[in-house]
């Protein structure tokens, strides 16, 4: 015992200190938080406040507490007793206090996060950007808040790429994860579809008919440089980037019927993975990169299958429903989302990677297709015709908290959520 004590003591003195915690059983507890944004431009402050509140609410880590009467001058380095008392009375445990200023065409956000128990400052950061970056700045600030209070990476700065016919042609667009700031990234007035982000969120692979035959293209978002990766006979469709960013899996009918292939990011090193008489399409990688799920009608009807990424160990995952397609492997690895149909329209279903635990998480009307996971694995974006026209929606992975993201005219399909 004495030696143990000595060891413990020496460890203790080395660098670290020891803290004792006790737990209750697993309750889901959200952090009560308040967002207070001030600024000379009230409209600007209101925008920032709304973006922050929406982001924090969507993160599912926080309970946003209303606090109309609390007024703070500037952004103090430590909360004084009076304000702390007010906040605590409302049950607020964390307070976001920010001041937004506009000078010429620049905006500056002075953001701080406090803990109301002691008034301690958890972090302080200043953000600056051009006038058009207000929402982006707020998203960045909210991701930092999420990180500082949960250790998790927030998703407020992520984006969603999707196809839309709002200009007549079917072009690709990128929008913020909340549906704002949409912008076109193609513009060839042709048919562009099934976009897929690279793991570093710098490039997007997609299928385009711009040169007549549907082939796989890649656009680099920083340089806007575009290149055609595949130029095979037949259709080259549904590209999907491997988690390490080195390979792109896709479906091609170059050998007759559609099969799954991989190629490297330069379009070289073609490798065929599947050999069946049926159509094999829509590959999706497991986050480890060792497995792949895809759609195949080899068994008579389109169903979800999985295999190793060398094409071995193929097994069928879905046995319920007449038509299952568009699998998307969750970035946490624990779920596969897909479009499922048991008569009527398609719905979004999720299941475990072994095919068990199947749940239908949307209820219609219309049809729900093309699910894609948020990088935190807690939310799914998909295309739906529930209001007649096709739009992009997002929801929690249990189907709750549905939000419509696209608000413009036209139809929208095939969303893919950026990994970062």
């Amino acid at each position: 015992m004495a030696s143990l004590l000595a060891v413990m003591a020496s460890v203790g003195t080395a660098q670290a200190r020891e803290v004792y915690l006790e737990t209750l059983k697993g309750e889901v507890r959200k952090i009560p938080i308040a967002v207070i944004v001030a600024g000379e431009d009230a409209a600007l402050a209101s925008t920032v406040s709304k973006v922050l509140e929406a982001d924090l609410g969507r993160s599912l880590y926080f309970d946003l507490i209303k606090h109309k009467d609390i007024k703070i001058n500037g952004v103090p380095s430590k909360l004084n007793e009076a304000i702390r008392g007010q906040l605590k009375q409302l049950g607020i445990e964390s307070a976001v206090i920010a001041y937004i200023a506009r000078s010429e065409k620049m905006i500056k956000l002075d953001g701080k996060l406090y803990e109301t128990g002691s008034g301690e400052l958890i972090f302080a950061k200043r953000y600056a950007g051009s006038d058009s970056m207000v929402r982006r700045v707020a998203h960045r600030f909210s991701d930092e808040i999420v990180f500082r209070l949960t250790g998790e990476k927030g998703i407020a700065q992520t984006r969603i790429v999707y196809a839309s016919d709002q200009t007549g042609a079917k072009e690709l667009y990128i929008m913020d994860y909340d549906g704002y700031s949409s912008r076109m990234i193609t513009g060839n007035k042709s048919l562009n579809l099934s976009p897929s982000w690279s793991p570093d969120s710098q490039r997007i692979a997609y299928t385009s008919y711009r040169d007549g035959n549907p082939d796989i293209y890649v656009v680099d978002l920083t340089t806007s440089k575009r290149e055609r990766l595949s130029n095979y006979d037949g259709l080259d469709i549904s590209p999907s980037w491997s988690p390490d960013g080195n390979l792109i899996a896709f479906a091609s009918s170059m050998d007759g019927n559609a099969e799954i292939y991989t190629m490297d990011k330069a379009g070289e090193g073609l490798k065929r993975l599947t050999y069946t008489h049926g159509e094999d399409v829509s590959p999706t990688w497991s986050p480890s990169g060792g497995e792949m799920a895809f759609t195949s009608d080899r068994g008579g009807s389109p169903q979800i299958y999985a295999m190793k990424t060398d094409g071995t160990n193929i097994r069928r995952l879905t046995f319920k429903g007449e038509y299952n397609s568009d699998p998307a492997w969750s970035p946490k690895g624990n779920k596969i989302a897909f479009a499922c149909r048991r008569g009527g329209g398609f719905r979004i279903c999720t299941m475990n990677p072994d095919g068990s635990g199947l749940i239908e998480i949307t209820i219609g009307p219309g049809s729900d297709e093309s699910p894609s996971w948020a990088p935190d694995g807690r939310r799914i974006v998909f295309a739906s015709s529930r209001e007649g026209r096709w739009n992009i929606y997002m929801m929690n992975d249990d189907g709750s908290r549905l939000e419509k993201l696209t608000r413009h005219e036209g139809n929208n399909w095939g969303p893919d959520w950026s990994p970062n």
């Binding site: 003591a9 020891e18 803290v19 059983k25 803990e115 002691s118 301690e120």
Partner: protein, 269 residues
């Protein structure tokens, strides 16, 4: 006939010998104050040894149980021993702070315990009881310095003996003032803990781990087992699944923080 005479003589001699020997026994017994017939004595002698072995096993069995209890107390004692230590390192780390500050810090501990984490009071009280039990059974010099600090609490704990009642987190670093941070850890681990269904008894597992400045965790290990490895595993899993935690508080200047997480199974909230 000539043969029967020596035989009968031999038999008689044997009888005589037997009589003499029984007399001796008889005398011996009378000396002790007993007056039963020799045959009865024989029976008694046989019975007594039988009864004794029957009695003995249960007797040793009870001591064995006691021994187990003692072991349990010791197990509980381990944290008690370890706990004081963090206090020690803390003092040396901040050599500037005089021992007086420990008293000031005490108040801080009490405050945040109520504010940030009101519920987990049970284990704390329980722990303190255990500490006291451990102290009384095996008083050790290592326990004595913090014993003063805890004396008051121990007495409070006495007032609520039968059911474990949570009274707040025990923070062993006197100047660790970031209870919000511990609250964040608790809420994160809590949501990731798939607590197994327990029976009537309350069990606990202590899991040790370290948190680096950037919030990443390491060295996750069971410091004290519940005695049920499945329970222990759910506790370790809950911690591992919580990686990473939020970055360490700005004001906390060490490179990493050692945390002991107490999981109470079967606790009635």
């Amino acid at each position: 006939m000539t043969i029967t005479i020596p035989i009968s003589l031999l038999v008689h001699l044997l009888l005589l010998f037997a009589l003499v020997s029984s007399n001796i026994l008889y005398k011996a017994n009378t000396d002790r104050g007993y007056t039963p017939p020799p045959s009865a004595i024989h029976v008694n002698i046989v019975k007594i040894p039988r009864e004794r072995p029957v009695e003995r096993p249960p007797v040793p069995a009870k001591p064995e149980k006691k021994a187990e209890d003692v072991v349990k107390v010791e197990e509980v004692h381990k944290p008690a021993e370890k706990r004081p230590e963090p206090v020690k390192p803390v003092v040396p780390v901040e050599k500037k702070t005089a021992p007086k500050e420990v008293k000031k810090v005490e108040v801080k501990i009490a405050e945040p315990a109520k504010m940030a984490l009101p519920e987990p009071a049970v284990p704390a009280a329980k722990e303190k009881k255990e500490v006291k039990a451990a102290e009384s059974s095996t008083p050790k010099p290592a326990v004595s310095p913090p014993a003063d600090v805890k004396a008051a609490n121990v007495q409070e704990a006495k007032l609520t003996p039968p059911l474990p009642v949570v009274s707040g987190p025990v923070v062993e670093i006197p100047d660790f003032q970031y209870d919000y941070y511990l609250g964040l850890i608790r809420s994160k681990v809590g949501t990731r803990w798939s607590q197994p269904i327990t029976y009537k008894e309350v069990k606990q597992t202590l899991v040790d781990f370290t948190i680096r400045r950037d919030g990443k965790i390491g060295d996750v290990k069971v410091a004290e087992s519940s005695g049920d490895s499945y329970f222990d595993q759910t506790a370790v899993r809950a911690v591992s699944l919580s990686n990473p935690f939020p970055p360490l508080p700005r004001g906390y200047k060490e490179d990493f923080l050692k945390v002991r997480y107490r999981f109470i199974f079967g606790e009635k909230g």
